[in-house]
C-alpha cells in the first residue's frame, strides 16, 4: 500500500512538472511584452529595462523557468501584472467560492447520475431505459454556458426567486450548481448503466438471484457494489472536465471564483495570473486523482490485498 501511494505521488509530481512546462511555454510565446503591459505604452526605455531586470526577463529562458519553478514550489506564483497583487493570495481568496460550487455540483451529478443509471439498468430494454438513455445523452450535449443563460432568463422572467448571479449563500448556489452538474450527471448515468448491465450478467449476481433475493436487492446490493467502483475513477478523471465547466459557469453567473479569475487573466494577458490559475487547476486535478486512487485501492480488496501482500 505504501509503495502504491509513493508511486502515485511521484506520478502526481511529474504531472505538475509537465503542466508547469506547458504553462511556461504558453507564457513564453506571448507576443506582448510584459514590461510594456506593466508600465504602459508610453514608458521610457529605462523604466522598461528596470522592470525587465526586476522580473528576470533579461535572463536566459531556462534560468527563467528554473526560477519560476523554484518559487512555485515555495508557493510563490509571482505578482499579477494588472492587479498588482500576489497571485497565490488572489487564488486563495477566490478558492472557497469555487470549492463550494465544485463540491455541490459533484454531489448533485453523482446523485442524479447514479439514480438515472440504476433506474435504467433496473428497467433494462424498456421504454424507461430508452427515455433515460436519450435524457442522459441530452444532458451531455447541452452547452454549459447556454444552460446557465437559459436558467438565468427563466428565473428573471418567470420564477423571480434565485439571485441573478454572484455568490451570496444558499439560494445563489442553486442555478450554478444545476448548470455545472447536468453534463456530468448524464455521463455518470451512462457509465453506471453499462457497468450495472455487465454485472447483472455475472455469476455472483445469478447466484444471488438463485437464492431468491428480490430483484431490487440484487441490483442495489450485489450488482451495485461492483458497478460503483469504476465510477469512482471516472468521477476523479472527470474532475478536469468539471473545472472547464467551472470557468463557463462562473462567467455566466458572475461567480467570484478561480474560473472567472482565470478568464479575466486570459483577457488581460496577465501572464503570472494565467500560469498561476492553470497550475493551480492542475494541482487540484492531481490531488483529486490521488484521492480517487487511494479510495479505489481501499474500496477494492483485490488491489488492497495485492498491494499489501
Amino acid at each position: 500500500m505504501l509503495a502504491y501511494l509513493a508511486r502515485r505521488i511521484v506520478f502526481g509530481a511529474a504531472v505538475l512538472l509537465g503542466t508547469s512546462l506547458i504553462t511556461f511555454v504558453i507564457a513564453f510565446v506571448v507576443p506582448a511584452d510584459p514590461a510594456v503591459t506593466m508600465a504602459g505604452a508610453k514608458a521610457d526605455p529605462q523604466t522598461l529595462a528596470t522592470i525587465r531586470r526586476e522580473l528576470g526577463l533579461d535572463q536566459p529562458i531556462y534560468i527563467q523557468y528554473a526560477r519560476f519553478l523554484n518559487r512555485a514550489v515555495h508557493g510563490d506564483l509571482g505578482r499579477s501584472y494588472i492587479r498588482r497583487e500576489n497571485v497565490t493570495e488572489l487564488i486563495a481568496s477566490r478558492f472557497p467560492a469555487t470549492a463550494v460550487l465544485a463540491v455541490a455540483a459533484m454531489a448533485v451529478s453523482l446523485i442524479l447520475g447514479v439514480a438515472m443509471g440504476a433506474l435504467a439498468a433496473a428497467y433494462h430494454r424498456s421504454a424507461t431505459d430508452n427515455a433515460l438513455l436519450v435524457a442522459s445523452l441530452a444532458f451531455v450535449s447541452v452547452p454549459v454556458f447556454w444552460l446557465g443563460t437559459m436558467l438565468l432568463i427563466a428565473d428573471a422572467l418567470f420564477v423571480h426567486f434565485f439571485p441573478l448571479g454572484g455568490y451570496s449563500g444558499g439560494a445563489s448556489l442553486v442555478l450554478p450548481t444545476l448548470t455545472l452538474a447536468l453534463g456530468s450527471a448524464g455521463y455518470y448515468s451512462r457509465i453506471l448503466h453499462t457497468n450495472l448491465v455487465d454485472a447483472m450478467g455475472q455469476d455472483f449476481v445469478r447466484a444471488a438471484r438463485g437464492k431468491g433475493l428480490s430483484p431490487a436487492r440484487v441490483l442495489l446490493q450485489h450488482a451495485m457494489s461492483n458497478a460503483m467502483l469504476p465510477l469512482v475513477t471516472i468521477a476523479g478523471l472527470d474532475f478536469a472536465g468539471l473545472l472547464s465547466g467551472v470557468v463557463l459557469t462562473e462567467t455566466v453567473f458572475n461567480w467570484p471564483g478561480i474560473g472567472r479569475l482565470a478568464y479575466e487573466a486570459i483577457f488581460n494577458l496577465d501572464i503570472p495570473l494565467i500560469m498561476g490559475t492553470v497550475l493551480f487547476a492542475a494541482f487540484l486535478i492531481v490531488i483529486a486523482n490521488l484521492g480517487v486512487d487511494l479510495l479505489y485501492a481501499w474500496l477494492d480488496p483485490r488491489i488492497r490485498l495485492a498491494e499489501m501482500g
Binding site: 506520478f11 441530452a138 450535449s141 447556454w146
Partner: protein
C-alpha cells in the same frame, strides 16, 4: 431476444447530422437574408420573432434565422476540421504506443496522462488568447487539447490486436513494422476510430462554441452560434430569443453527433 434499440438511435443521430450538413451546404439558398447586414426596420433594438423573421432580429437588425443557418456552416467546418486534428494526433499516438510498447509506450502514455490532467477549456483559452483568435489557431488549439481520449482508446485496441494470430504470422513472414501497422493493425482499428470521430465532433463543437462564447472564437462578422449567445447576454430580459435559438442549434448539432457515436459504440460492444 428483442432487437436492440441502438440502431434506431444511430439512425436518428445520422439523420440529425445529415440535416445539419445539408443546411450548411445550402446556406446561401436556405437563408432568406444576408447574415451580416441589417435587414429589419427595428435597427437599434432586437426585433421579436414574426412571420418575416421567425427567430427575430438582433440589435443590429440582422435576421437571427439567417445567422443560425450560416452559423451551421462555420460551426461544422471548425468542429470537423478540429476533430480531424484531434483524430490525427490521437490515432498516431495510440497506434505507436500500443504497437511498439515498452519505453515508447510508457513515455507517450505518461504525456497523455499529463494532458488529461489539464482542464482542456482553460488551456485552450490560454493558447488562443496568446496566439490571437483566427480560424487556424482555433482549429489547432482545439485539436491539441482534445486528442487524449482518442489516444487511449486506440492504444487499447491496438494492444489487443498486436498479439492476434494474423499480426503475429505477418510478422513471422518478415513484414516490416510500418507495413504491419498500416496494413494489418490500422484497418482493424478503423471501426473504433470512426466511433471516436463522431463523438469527437460533438466535443469539438462544444469547445468551439464555448470559446466563441468567451470571445475567443472565429472573429466577427462571421456568424457563430457561441458568439450569438454572448452578444445576446445584455438583452436577456428584453429579448430572450436571441440566446434561445443559437443555443438550440448547438444543442441539436452536439446531440446529433452524440446519438450517432453512442449508437455505433453500443452496437460494437454488443457484437
Amino acid at each position: 431476444m428483442k432487437r436492440g434499440r441502438f440502431p434506431a438511435i444511430e439512425v436518428i443521430g445520422a439523420a440529425m447530422v445529415a440535416s445539419l450538413v445539408l443546411v450548411a451546404l445550402f446556406a446561401p439558398w436556405l437563408a432568406r437574408h444576408d447574415p451580416t447586414r441589417a435587414v429589419a426596420a427595428t435597427y437599434g433594438d432586437p426585433g421579436r420573432p414574426s412571420l418575416a423573421f421567425p427567430m427575430g432580429t438582433d440589435e443590429l437588425g440582422r435576421d437571427v434565422l439567417s445567422r443560425i443557418i450560416w452559423g451551421a456552416r462555420i460551426s461544422l467546418e471548425v468542429a470537423i476540421a478540429a476533430a480531424a486534428v484531434t483524430m490525427t494526433i490521437g490515432v498516431a499516438v495510440g497506434l505507436v504506443s500500443g504497437f511498439f510498447g515498452g519505453a515508447v509506450d510508457f513515455l507517450l502514455m505518461r504525456f497523455t496522462d499529463v494532458m488529461l490532467s489539464l482542464p482542456a477549456l482553460l488551456l485552450a483559452m490560454a493558447f488562443v488568447a496568446v496566439l490571437s483568435p483566427s480560424l487556424l489557431s482555433i482549429l489547432l488549439v482545439i485539436g491539441i487539447v482534445s486528442w487524449t481520449q482518442v489516444a487511449r482508446v486506440v492504444r487499447a485496441e491496438t494492444l489487443s490486436l498486436s498479439t492476434r494470430d494474423f499480426v503475429t504470422s505477418a510478422r513471422a513472414l518478415g513484414a516490416p513494422s510500418a507495413r504491419l501497422l498500416l496494413r494489418h493493425v490500422l484497418p482493424n482499428v478503423l471501426p473504433i476510430i470512426i466511433v471516436m470521430a463522431a463523438l469527437g465532433v460533438s466535443g469539438t463543437l462544444l469547445l468551439e462554441a464555448a470559446l466563441s462564447f468567451l470571445g475567443l472564437g472565429v472573429p466577427p462578422p462571421t456568424p457563430s452560434w457561441g458568439r450569438m449567445i454572448e452578444e445576446a447576454d445584455i438583452y436577456f430580459r428584453t429579448a430572450p430569443w436571441l440566446a434561445l435559438f443559437p443555443g438550440l442549434a448547438i444543442f441539436y448539432a452536439v446531440l446529433g453527433f452524440n446519438l450517432l457515436g453512442y449508437g455505433m459504440l453500443e452496437r460494437r460492444q454488443r457484437t
